[in-house]
Structure formats: structure tokens, C-alpha cells
Amino acid sequence: MAKRIGIEVSIALAEAVKLCNVDVIAAYPITPQTHIVEHLSELVADGSLDAEFVPVESEHSAMSCCCGSSAAGARTFTATSAQGLSLMSEILYIASPMRLPIVMVVANRAMSAPISIWNDHQDIMVQKDVGWIQTFAENGQEAVDLLIHAFRVAEDRKVSLPAIVNIDGFTLSHVIEPIEIPDQEDVDKFLPPFKPKYRLDPRKPITMGPVGIPEIYFESKIATNEALKASKKVILKAWKEFEEIFGRKYEPIDAYRTEDAEVLLVTMGSISETAMTAVDVMRDKGQKVGLLKIRLWRPFPIQEFRKAVGKTPILAVVDRHLSLGGVCSPVASELKTLYYKVPSAPKIFDFITGLGGRDVTVEHFEEIVDKAKSFAKRRPKDYYHYIGGREK
């Protein structure tokens, strides 16, 4: 029986990587790195995890190494944050069309400058279009569960795509909290050995990642996109099986107290927990407020999101990213596109908050809901609104 223990989320993730019996971990071991990789290097060094640990000289090399090992048929893991993810960016685009099921944890952090090591979603939001499956964890338990789920989905032959599990840097990665570490036996039941359809093998040579001349490049991109969209089916099925084995249920969109809601907050990541408390506070005051938590970000769960919104008239979207010079930020932008010219579409307002580790509080969510309600009556002149930031 799996035991619930107090453990740092990063350490729990490393233990979960071990439970997934990875073959190769390639990572840059210095800032911006977390204890995930540090603990994995210990597990490999003390012999409790039989894997290759490759401490490379940069994140660019980390992801390059991951591509090579995954192409050779090795179950491969890495982790990074912030500028480290940016340095990987070039290779992120290579992993997905090459259909390499690498799994990565990104401890989401702000992008310098000014130099920041604190949490927001600016690092990952600029990588939203790289063709990786992407989920966002609300707490440590979910991070562990989504990681195990990520290997299962990524390596499914119907999917064969890399996957990122996003956890909030510091706010999750450095917190000690109760987590049930699954039993090895259950993980083995859920996650079969990695058997790729094609792999680099000198005895059966194949070419992977050749030139895509204009006659084939377009189709290759379409194929990756179709595979990513189709992965949702496998993601849902794997979550169902996960629930049967581990007893914890996951869905692409989590709805919290949405019944008869006039305003729905839309959040991603660990601020969703504070948002639930804020919804309780506002409901106690008689306000009709609910919450939608986006767990699956890529592929975006269009039908599930629409169903969860139902006939709610107002969406207050909380973005942890600032799209410099843009119309609004990525999450709101996506949702506005989703509802463009849809009859009886909700009014959607974009709130930018919690950049660079600025705390996001219950009061902030109350302010967001108040503003969204007043904007619904009188259209604001701005396309997005800062919450909790001094503008002067």
C-alpha cells in the first residue's frame, strides 16, 4: 500500500522518475536546475537507479542528448527551468516531429532580465507551439501522477510525442507537502516497457530527421499536429486507467463550484489551490463564482473546455505571462479565439498576475472577479489588466 509522506515536491518527482525506470537522464546540473535532477544523480550514483546520468554542459546539449538516447530506444528524462528551457528551445522543435517520447519536467520560472529565479509561466508560454504534450500540475501529488502518466502517453505508439509536465518553480518545486509515492508494482502495471516502432540500431539502419524539402516539410508539420491533436484520446484513456490503478481521477479541465456561476476564474498550476479558497470565500459572500483549472494545455481540450464553461456569461482568465507588445496574453488569447463569433459566447477578460514570484492571494482573485463583472457591464478600454503590480 502506497504511503503518504512529507516530502519536497522535487524529490518526490525524482522518486517518480525512478519508479518509471528510466534509462537515460541528461541534464544541465547547475542553475536554473532543481533538486529533481540533483536527487536523480544521487539515485544513479548510489546504484538504486540503473540509468545513465549525463551531466551535460548546457541545456541545448541536454535536449540534444535526450533526442539521441530516445531515438536509440531509451526511456529518457530531463528537467529544466526558465532560461534553461529557452536554451533548449531549438531542440524542442526537433524532438516532436521526430516523434521522440522524451519526458521533461519544467519548474516554471520567470525569464530574466531583471535576473529572477522566481515563479511565473513566462518560460513555458513562449514554448507553447513546439509540438510537445503539456500539462500543468496543481500540487505535488498531481506532479508525481502527471509525470508517470506522461511516460505512458508519450511512449504509446499511437502518440510517440515528447511531453512536458509543468510545475510552478519554488511554489511547488521547493515545498514539502504530503505526497503518496506510488508502489513500484502499480507503476509497472500502468507503464509497460518502452518499445518504439522505430529506433536507431546499427543492425537495422534507418534515417531519422532528414532534410524536409518544400515538397515534404509542410506534410511533416501537419502530421505532427494531427498526432498531437489525436493524442488527447490516449491521454484520456490513460487517465482513466490511472484512476483504476491509483484511485486518483484526472481530467483535462477541472471544474470547481461552477454550478450556476456568473463568473468563472480560469487558472493553471498551483495558484489554482489559492483560487479554490478564493471561490469558497466569494461563494460564502453570496457571489456566484466558480473556477476552471486547465490541466491539459497541449493539445488544448476544446470540447472539454466548452462543456465546462457551459452557459457561464463571464470568464476571468488569469495569465502568468506577459506577451510584450501583444494584444493579450496566451491563455486569454487562445480562449478568445476559441469563442470568436460563437453564439452566446462568454465575455472573456485577461488578467496578468504573479510575474516573477509576486504572490497571488485570495484578495487578488476577489479583485479579478469584481473587475470582470464591471467590465462585463462596461467594456474596458484595455485588452488586459495587471493585478497586484504597481504600474507607476
Binding site: 512529507g6 511554489t171 514539502i176 507537502e177 504530503p178
Partner: protein, 184 residues
């Protein structure tokens, strides 16, 4: 839910003591969070760590603004930082100090309930080092009962191995010697 803020100096083990309390509370079947104040780590500089303990799942990622309990590991800190900042009216400040209650109240203007223990002396005598994080855990447990002493002893054993017995002794001695004073 009880919220705790620990004041220490970088390298004094404030984060470790926060972790030990959270691990112990979770071991008791309750819910807890422990986290450091996220900043550039500087040895010797004033730093903070936080704990939340609750009988129900904790649904917040906010910082701790209004602690029920403040623990001060280093006797020089109250002169430098406002250790009473944001504390609840019925909160308690647990200080490492060899001074008397009246001296402390007068010097730092503290009005809340206080718990005092000379942790420097205990740590020097028992551990041979003026590192007070585990010693001050004894004062925290005595003054608040936030978590059972057995669960913390177990967490200490897992964390410190061979060094656990001395740390347990320091904690237990502080538990005995801590004196609690009602709000003035």
C-alpha cells in the same frame, strides 16, 4: 490551520526545522506545508521559513502574512527585523534568549504571548555548536503542541542519522526549560 514563521540566519537550519515539523505533522496523518522564503541564499543574513499545519487539506499557495506562531532562532534578530510583523493578536513569539521577559518586552516592544528559552547555551552544551534549529523545535513543541514530540523525534532520526540522539537531547532539554508568558 496554524501558520508558523521562522526567523533565522542563512546556515542556521531554519528551513530544516520547518521541514521537520511538516514531515512530522504529515506522519501523524495531518496536512502540512513547509517552504523557505525564496531568495538569494546568503550565509549569515536574516532569512525566513514557513510552516502550515492543518487537519484538512491545505488549499493555498500564498505566503504567510499573519502567523499564529513566530519562532526566532537567533537572539540578535529581534533588534534587526520586526519579528512581530503581521502576527495574530492571540499569536505567540518563541524566542531564543537568555534575557528576562521584562527586558525583552521593553527592548523590542513585544506585546504578544511569549515563550523564552536560552537555546544558545543548550545547543553549546549538548551539541557543542551554537546551531539552535533543533533546540528551538523543543521550545516550539512545548509552547504550541503544533505536532507531537514523538513524530518530530522520528523525523530527526531520519534526517540526522548518527547525529540524531544529540539533537533529540537538545530538543528535549529546550522542551523542559522553555517558559511561557501570557500577553502583556
Amino acid at each position: 490551520m496554524k501558520e508558523v514563521r521562522i526567523h533565522g540566519r542563512g546556515g542556521q537550519g531554519g528551513v530544516t526545522s520547518a521541514e521537520l515539523v511538516a514531515i512530522a505533522a504529515i506522519e501523524e496523518g495531518r496536512y502540512a506545508q513547509a517552504f523557505p522564503s525564496f531568495g538569494p541564499e546568503r550565509r549569515g543574513a536574516p532569512v525566513q521559513a514557513f510552516i502550515r499545519v492543518s487537519d484538512n487539506p491545505i488549499r493555498t499557495r500564498e505566503k504567510v502574512y499573519h502567523p499564529d506562531i513566530v519562532v526566532v532562532l537567533d537572539s540578535s534578530l529581534p533588534a534587526l527585523v520586526n519579528v512581530a510583523e503581521g502576527i495574530k493578536d492571540d499569536g505567540i513569539i518563541i524566542l531564543n534568549s537568555a534575557n528576562s521577559e521584562s527586558q525583552i518586552r521593553e527592548e523590542f516592544g513585544l506585546k504578544t504571548k511569549l515563550a523564552l528559552v536560552d537555546a544558545n547555551t543548550i545547543a553549546r552544551e549538548v551539541l557543542g555548536l551554537p546551531i539552535t534549529n533543533t533546540t528551538m523545535l523543543g521550545a516550539l513543541l512545548k509552547a504550541t503542541g503544533i505536532v507531537g514530540i514523538e513524530a518530530v523525534e522520528e523525523a530527526l532520526e531520519k534526517r540526522f542519522g548518527k547525529l540524531a540522539p544529540k539533537n533529540k537531547d537538545a530538543m528535549k532539554r529546550a522542551y523542559e526549560e522553555t517558559v511561557i508568558y501570557e500577553a502583556s
